[in-house]
Symmetry: C2
Subunit: 485 residues, 2 copies
C-alpha cells in the first residue's frame, strides 16, 4: 500500500487515518502489536519520521500506546458511554444517604480481607517512590532533628511551594511560590475553596457524574447542587454551562476538566480556553480539581484551565496524594483573586502543614526524580487501565460500555439491562469484593446501572479474579451473557 502526498493533508496525517481504519476494522485487533517503525515506513513507502508522527497522532487519540523496548500496541476498545442530554438540569439538595454508602465502602477498603476494584486509593507502595521518600525523611531527621519540635506555621515550606510553582509550568500555569497555599490534601483545598466563594444557600454547578465526596461536602456547607450535562469523552457541556451562567443559576462551579473523576475524560484545548473565558466573563469562580492533571497518559500534558485564567476567577486545587505519597495527604491550591482569602481561611481552619512532610516532598521534587517516576506511573496506570478494559469486554454483560480515559486510573462503566448496581454492590460485598456504585457519583438515575472502576491496584490474580467475578455476577443478575464469550 502506498500513500502519496496530496494537497488536502500532510502525509503523516493520511497515514494516521489509514492506520486508524485498520485498527477499527480489526486488521490490528486490541492488544496486537503495530508493525515496527522501519517496516511500516518501507511498507507504506514513507520516511521513518512520517511513521513516527503518525503513530504519535494515534497515541494522542488513545488508539495505540507505546510500550518501552517493545513497540506500539493497539489499546483495547470498548463501546464508549453515550452522553446524556439534559439541557434543563434540576437543582438538588444532596442528602446524607450517599455518605452512609461511602462509609460502607471505606470500611471494606480498610479491611484486609476485601478486594477493592473501585476506590481511587492507591494501596501499593510498588507504584510509589517509597524507598526514596523514606531516605529523604531519614536524612532530614538526621540533618534537622529540630524539625519535629518546631511548630509549623503558615505559609509553610518555601522549598515545596517553589517546586510546585516550577512544575506548574508543565501544565501551563505561571505561578510564584507566594501564590500557592499548602493544604491537607485536595479535599481540604476543595472545602476551603467552596467556603471562600460561596455562602450557605448558594448553588454550585458540578459535572455529572462527579467526584462522590462533593455531594456530602456541598451538603455540609449548606449548598445545593446543579448537575451540568457532561460528555463522557468531551467533558462538561459548555453550551449547557453558558445557559446556566447566563441565567445566574450557580454561584460557583466545581469541575475536573483533565482526566475527570470518575470518567477519565479531558476537555479539548479550545474547550478549556472557552471555559476559562466564560467563568471570567460571568465572574463565577471555577474551582478546578486538577488531581489527575499530571497523570495524563499523553505528553505534552494538556494544560490546566487555570493556565488561561485572565482575571483570577479560577482556583486550581490538587495534591500529591495520587502522584508521590498517598499517605501524606499534602495538597495545594492557587487561588487567583481569592488567594489572600484562601490563605487566611486555611490558616484559621487548620493552621499549617507538617514541615517534615512538606520539606520531604520539596526535596523529592528538587531531586529531579519526579519526571522519571511520573513517566513510569503513567505507563503503569495506562497499561493496567487497558488490561482492565480488556477484561470487562470479555467478562461483563454484552453491551457494557466504558469510558476511554486520557489519564488517571479510574473509569466509568455502564451496564446494560437496567442492572441495579447498588444491589450488585451489596451482593459483591458478601463475596468480599468492593466496588463503588454509580449512584454515588450523580443524583440522576443515570448512575443506577453504572459503576466506577479503578486501576490503582496492582493487577494481580486477586484483582483480576474480582473483576471476573463482578462480571459473572452482573451477567447473572442482568440475564445477559458476557460480551465476547
Amino acid at each position: 500500500m502506498s500513500i502519496s502526498e496530496t494537497e488536502e493533508s500532510p502525509l503523516y496525517q493520511r497515514l494516521a487515518v489509514t492506520l486508524a481504519e485498520a485498527i477499527h476494522c480489526g486488521t490490528y485487533p486490541p492488544g496486537s502489536r503495530l508493525p515496527a517503525i522501519r517496516r511500516c515506513a518501507s511498507h507504506h513507502q514513507v520516511s521513518v519520521n512520517t511513521v513516527l508522527t503518525a503513530y504519535r497522532i494515534l497515541e494522542d487519540r488513545g488508539l495505540i500506546e507505546a510500550r518501552p523496548q517493545s513497540g506500539y500496541y493497539v489499546r483495547s476498545v470498548l463501546p464508549s458511554v453515550k452522553a446524556v442530554s439534559r439541557l434543563h438540569p434540576t437543582v438538588h439538595s444532596p442528602g446524607s444517604d450517599k455518605l452512609a454508602l461511602i462509609e460502607t465502602v471505606f470500611a471494606a477498603q480498610n479491611h484486609p480481607d476485601y478486594t477493592n476494584i473501585s476506590l481511587a486509593c492507591p494501596q501499593n507502595s510498588d507504584f510509589y517512590p517509597t524507598a526514596k521518600i523514606s531516605r529523604i525523611i531519614s536524612s532530614l531527621l538526621r540533618r534537622e532533628p529540630m524539625l519535629i519540635g518546631r511548630y509549623a506555621l503558615p505559609p509553610g515550606s518555601q522549598r515545596l511551594r517553589r517546586e510546585i510553582a516550577r512544575r506548574a509550568l508543565d501544565l501551563g500555569m505561571s505561578l510564584t511560590a507566594e501564590e500557592i497555599t499548602l493544604t491537607h490534601g485536595c479535599m481540604e483545598a476543595l472545602q476551603l475553596a467552596l467556603r471562600a466563594v460561596t455562602t450557605p444557600g448558594d448553588c454550585v454547578g458540578v459535572e455529572t457524574p462527579t467526584y462522590f465526596y462533593l455531594f456530602p461536602l456541598l451538603a455540609s456547607l449548606g449548598l445545593s447542587v446543579l448537575e451540568i450535562p457532561t460528555d463522557p469523552q468531551q467533558g462538561l457541556s459548555l453550551d449547557a454551562l453558558e445557559l446556566v451562567l447566563q441565567e445566574k443559576r450557580i454561584q460557583a462551579l466545581v469541575a475536573m476538566p483533565t482526566a475527570q473523576n470518575p470518567m477519565g475524560c479531558t476537555m479539548t484545548l479550545p474547550d478549556k480556553k472557552r471555559l476559562a473565558k466564560m467563568v471570567n466573563h460571568y465572574q463565577v469562580p471555577l474551582i478546578e480539581d486538577g488531581l489527575y492533571c499530571e497523570l495524563q497518559f499523553n505528553w505534552p500534558l494538556s494544560p490546566a484551565v487555570k493556565a488561561f485564567d485572565s482575571d483570577g476567577w479560577i482556583i486550581h486545587c490538587t495534591s500529591f496524594t495520587k502522584t508521590i505519597a498517598p499517605d501524606f495527604h499534602l495538597g495545594w491550591m492557587a487561588g487567583g483573586r481569592f488567594h489572600e482569602k484562601l490563605a487566611r481561611l486555611k490558616s484559621v481552619s487548620s493552621l499549617a502543614e507538617s514541615r517534615l512532610l512538606s520539606e520531604t516532598l520539596g526535596h523529592f521534587l528538587e531531586s529531579g526524580g519526579y519526571d522519571h517516576h511520573l513517566r513510569n506511573l503513567r505507563r503503569r496506570y495506562a497499561a493496567q487501565m487497558d488490561e482492565a478494559r480488556g477484561m470487562i469486554a470479555r467478562h461483563f454483560p454484552a453491551g457494557t460500555r466504558a469510558t476511554q480515559p486520557s489519564g488517571g486510573f479510574v473509569f466509568w462503566v455502564e451496564l446494560p439491562g437496567r442492572l441495579d448496581c447498588v444491589a450488585l454492590f451489596h451482593r459483591l460485598l458478601q463475596e468480599k469484593i468492593c466496588l463503588t456504585p454509580g449512584a454515588l457519583y450523580t443524583l440522576s438515575e443515570r448512575g443506577n446501572s453504572a459503576m466506577r472502576l479503578s486501576c490503582c491496584y496492582p493487577f494481580d490474580d486477586r484483582y483480576s479474579w474480582a473483576l471476573k467475578r463482578t462480571g459473572a455476577l452482573a451477567c447473572e443478575m442482568s440475564g445477559i451473557a458476557a460480551g465476547s464469550e
Copy 2:
C-alpha cells in the same frame, strides 16, 4: 518553732499555713529555696511525711515548686490580674482586622532574625522527644515501607486512637477508640466542632480574653461572638454564663477550662462539674479546648469538663502539638452525641490523617515514655514561667499585673497607665522583638493595655534580653519606672 496537733485541723495543714505565711511575708522570697525536708521536720518537730504533705499542698496552690535533685523553691509572685465585671456582655461581629495583626506576628515568628516572647509555638526540639520520635519514624519506614504508598482513610490509626482513649483516663474521660476522631491539629477540631453545632448567624459564647484565632475562625463561619466575663484565676463566670444560657443568647460555647489560653487559669473542680451540668441542662454544646490539659503543673491532673458530661453535650478538642510533636499538627476530638456528625464532617472536609505520623505517635504513647516526658515538660515550663514572671516583676513598669498559670506556657500581663500595647508591639517589631498584643484576645477595651507572653522558648540570653527590652520600652512609653528597680 513547734507545731502541735489540735482538733481544728491536721498537722500538715497547719504546717502548710505557717509556711505559706512565711512566703507571703517575705521570709522566703520568690526564687528562694525552702528548707530541706529533714531540716524542716526537725525544725518544726514533725515527721518527714507531714512536711512532705505540707509541701505538696503548697505546690498544689502554686506557691512553691519542686526542682529535681534540688529541692523546693518559692515561685515568683506578681499581683494577679483583677477580674473585669461585665454582667451584660455585648454581641460582637468579629472583623478581620485582627487577622492582619496576627499575620504580622506570624511573619515575624517565621523570620529567624526576630525574637519571640509571645506565641504558643514551641521552637526548640530540646523540649520535645525528637530523637525518640525520629527513631520510631525510621523504624516504621523500615518495617512498613508500604506505609507512604498507601492512601490513608478515616477513621485512621487504631493504635493511636486506642492510646488516646487509654490516656484520657488521666483527665477523667472514659472513652473508647471508636469515640475518637483524629484531626489536623486542635485548630481543625475546633473548626469542625463549630461547623457541626452551629449554623451561620448563630452566636457563640467565649471566655474573655480567649484564644486569638477564635475570632477570625468564628467570623469565617458567619458566627457572632459573645464574650462572657472570665476571672483570671477562677475562669469563666458561671453566673454570667447561666444568665446567658437562660436567655438563650448563645447556640454554643467555646471554653478552655484548664490552663486557659491566654491566662493560664484552671476552673475549680466544683466549677467544672457545674459547667458540665449547665450545658447538659440547657442543651447548649460546649466545645472544650483541652490543649493544655496534660501540661498542668500539679498532679493529679484536674479532670477535663468532658469527664462530667452526662448527656454528650461536650466536645473535647485537643492535640499533641504542644506536648509531643509540634510539627505534626495531629489532634483529636471526642464528640459525645455529635461524634458521628463530626467524624463525617472531618471526612468530607479533609479526609484523614497521615498514617505515618499517627502510627508514630501511637508507638510513642505505647512505649511508655510519655509520662516521663510530660513530667519533664511540665517542670521545665513551670520553671520558665516562674523565671519570666520574676523578670517582669523586676523590669516591667511598677503596677504591672500578671496571671499565675496552673499549666501550659502562656500567661497574661496587664500594664499600668493605659499603655497602648499595639503601639508597643509595633515599636518592638522595629527592634526585632515580637509579642502578641492583648487586643488580639478580646474585643473589649480591656486588651488594649495587655499582652500575652509565652514561655515555650528556651530561656536563653536572647529571650531574657527581649523580655528586659520589652519592659524598658514599656517603662519609657508609660513614664512609669520599673517594678522593683
